[in-house]
């Protein structure tokens, strides 16, 4: 088990290092930040002074080593625009993003999983058809269309909910809905097919044949076995929460990390973009790690495999 955890940790570390390298290479290769920040008409010595101040006159590999060092000492650089610490700027925006993503995630879990399981146990019922239809919609409607359709319906036509901003709790309803509707469909479809697959297994037949009540068969035999694929997709959803927030926060002008990313990217604010890239990758890597460890707990077979 310890070796299993160690290999996972090493892989996670290598992945993070690859992301750091990627961020560094792309952002440095793409152009001279001094020119961008100061404009094309800036006098030459101002440009040189700017470069010296930000370490941009050093050879690239020196910048790279310095960069890696500073990242691991917790220093993510200073926003070139606001002169504030990049990590500070990002941290300030985290609560706003969590205000949307956590309720959205809870909605997905609370509706998606039960609906999928119910649909699997009652195939061809209205709920089952609804789950299939909802899953297709969730997959085919992009979030920006969904968001605008909700705004059109609730803000423009019915006039009951605000279409943008972050002033009251009502402002959070449409963005949260936009984020969760597609995910509910996808999660429901996954839970449904995982459950259908488990219900077709011989041990379910054995369990019912030995006279267990139907409820016990479902709760103690089917559900634990269907949990592994469901946990996988939930882990992926948690890991991609911030990515999902980019579009939704832009639609509803919600001041979270996603909007900060789009704004910083237009301003070419290297430090902030790098910081967000790393944070997104870290979220993904950590949630994958947690999922891997959960597998061991959910499925004893994997535990014994990893033991030797």
């Amino acid at each position: 088990m310890i070796r299993f955890i160690l290999t996972r940790l090493l892989r996670a570390f290598i992945t993070i290092l690859a992301v750091i390298t990627f961020a560094f290479v792309v952002l440095r290769m793409s152009g001279d930040p001094a020119q961008v920040m100061l404009g094309p008409d800036a006098p030459n010595d101002t440009v040189l002074a700017f470069r010296a101040a930000w370490g941009l006159d050093q050879p690239l590999w020196v910048q790279y080593v310095a960069y890696i060092k500073s990242i691991f000492s917790g220093d993510f650089g200073v926003s070139m625009r606001d002169k504030a610490s990049a990590i500070q700027l990002v941290i300030e925006r985290i609560p706003a993003t969590l205000q949307l993503t956590i309720p959205a995630l809870l909605l997905k879990l609370a509706i998606g999983i039960p609906a999928g399981i119910y649909a699997a146990l009652h195939r061809q019922s209205i709920i089952d058809r609804g789950v299939i239809f909802g899953a297709v919609l969730g997959f085919t409607i992009p979030s920006f269309v969904m968001g605008l359709l909700l705004v059109l319906l609730f803000s423009v036509i019915l006039g009951v909910l605000p279409s943008g901003g972050q002033d009251t709790w009502q402002h959070g309803i449409l963005p949260t809905l936009t984020m969760s509707i597609g995910g509910i469909g996808i999660l429901a479809r996954f839970s449904r097919s995982a459950m259908i697959e488990v219900m077709g297994q011989p041990f379910i037949r054995t369990a019912s044949a030995k006279g267990l009540r139907w409820k016990d068969v479902v709760w103690s035999h089917a559900l634990p076995n269907a949990a592994v694929p469901i946990v996988t997709i939930v882990g992926f959803m948690v890991g991609s929460l911030i990515a999902g927030a980019v579009v939704v926060e832009s639609i509803f002008s919600w001041p979270g990390i996603g909007r900060l990313l789009v704004v910083s990217v237009t301003n070419r604010d290297l430090a902030v973009v790098q910081c967000i890239l790393l944070m997104v990758a870290a979220t993904m890597v950590v949630s994958n790690l947690v999922v891997d460890l959960l597998y061991g707990w959910l499925d004893p077979r994997l535990r014994s495999q990893s033991a030797h």
């Binding site: 690859a18 793409s30 152009g31 085919t140 920006f144 579009v247 990217v265």
Partner: protein
Amino acid sequence: MTIADTSAPVTPDHNTVLSRMRRALRQVPFSVGFGIAWLAGMVLIAIFADQIRPYGITAMDLRSRLALPGTFPHLLGTDELGRDVLSRLIQSIRMSLVIAFGATIISAIFGTTLGFLAAKFRGVVEHLVLVLADFQAALPFLIMSIAILAFFGSSMSLLIVLMGFYGWERYARIARGLAISASAQGYAAAVVQLGATPMRVYLKHILPNVASTLIVSMTLTFPEIILMESGLSFLGLGVQPPETSLGNMVGFGREYLTRAPWIMLAPSLVIMLTTLSISLVGDWLRDKLDPTLR
């Protein structure tokens, strides 16, 4: 007599072909039939965009700005500059399909090649490919593309290349796994013994055997690329004006959501129906081509 002799065996043959086709058609569910028809329509529109487009995409009709749909001469109405929504929609369909087709093919070739290389050389190469795949999986594609596009500036070729990286890791993993198991089978060993070069073994013998699974993954990647491109264009980072794509139209239509919702609704509907059709047809193809994936 001779005429009767030759025609006699032909007629039943002809009939069986026809009836076989009819039977095959009847086996296609309605939804799949709709999907195929819609996609065929989209492809035709994309090919003949220049011929069927009633106006130029930048032609402005300033006297009928924000005209309602259903009115002559602008069937789907006009936007804030009096540009014909139908013409722009047709051009957008072409643009989005070209990007999605190009990107799907690049991604399939790139991923499959890396997967085959990993299977052929194992060792360091394999580890490298797997680390790259891990990296790709750890960084949500939207975030990565936003960073790259914004820093390099958006151009059509960069956009296609970038979208061409979408989902490569999926092909790489599949191709690697399939190639490893295929090379353990008799036929691959046999052609190697006959002196075939690795290139020949992989392209002529292993590739055809794993192609159906790869095609199925292409039907999964294609709609996702359309959604990814329209998402980027919606954020203003994808296709740049004066060119137009489906996401780009939705993005600009958003400004006129209250006064002229049709500008945004027309491309949204096309995006939804297209991705829906591809997943319907793709699911059906998957069942036909690869029963193990069900």
